[in-house]
Symmetry: C2
Subunit: 168 residues, 2 copies
Amino acid sequence: MQITRASEYAMLGLLALARRPMGEVVMLDVVAGEEDIPVSFLGKIFQSLARGKLVKSSRGSGGGFMLVRTPESITALEVIEVVEGPVSLTRCLDEDTGCEHASGCALCGLFAEAQDRVKEVFSGTTVAQLAGRHIPGGMVRNARGRERIVFRSQQSQAGSSLAEKSAV
Amino acid sequence: MQITRASEYAMLGLLALARRPMGEVVMLDVVAGEEDIPVSFLGKIFQSLARGKLVKSSRGSGGGFMLVRTPESITALEVIEVVEGPVSLTRCLDEDTGCEHASGCALCGLFAEAQDRVKEVFSGTTVAQLAGRHIPGGMVRNARGRERIVFRSQQSQAGSSLAEKSAV
DNA sequence: ATCAAGCGGACCAAATTGGTCCTGTTTAAA
DNA sequence: TTTAAACAGGACCAATTTGGTCCGCTTGAT
């Protein structure tokens, strides 16, 4: 279960759509600007989201992207799997290759359990829930135009486990 | 939380030691042979394990590796962190860089929770427990010598979620 | 002394990540 | 009916990570 930038950006992009009235069409560079994502990369990601039927695109002037499902119905797991494909925590759990350590490999069971826990968390969280907690960030409009503001001090909310420094 | 071959091999290597009486010294190529791991790569990994005080090495003839702690006291999480370093599910949770999406990034919270679940699983499993479930596998001796045997049919035990094929 | 074994650094190829860029198509609007 | 706006999709790219190999060095037992 590898969470890359692409998944992060996909979720942030969906949050940008979810903040708006359902069905509203938003241009790529607007989303990219709000969430501070490279627009060309976000384009690729939204292509995936469109193929995965999470958003619909319309072309031509006045075009852009809109949600095709309610934010309440889209889980984080769906988003991740649409952009990353059917991912797995290790190659042991990969659909194609499978575990190569053969017969009684105890590790597979362990990894499978860990992966299931992760999937539980992600499948139990919807875009709507995230949107509720999310403040767009990145760019903030002030008197002189657009300026990047970063609140380093707020990182600590990210998780208790961040503090534990282990051996390297 | 990225589980690479190195972590897998490290655990398998420790299992090989755990199968033996505590304190027994085992050579690298014996472990590598039992678990079907490239010996030179396993050497690197055991160097890490030695630095992480999970095993002790002795050099010269008759040398090899031995556990310095009981299999019951070594958790999977420790092993992973010794070989991979302080890993995180995403860059958002990385100690150094931290979340770059600024202020109210809801994703960090989500990722942190998922990561904590994974850590729970790994910190709740010991090498001893794994050793109990593990059958060395990989190589099986038969009449004509050594032959690689793979039990494809046993993959399915790895997790129910493996079957769900999502769009790519 | 000598041989067996791990140590540690240099090196390597392949895959993945995180993008960019350019040439289409589609569509709305002038 | 142009034309310009906007996404689609493929090619390409550099940097990093992964998964190793190799070789000369050091250590330790006989």
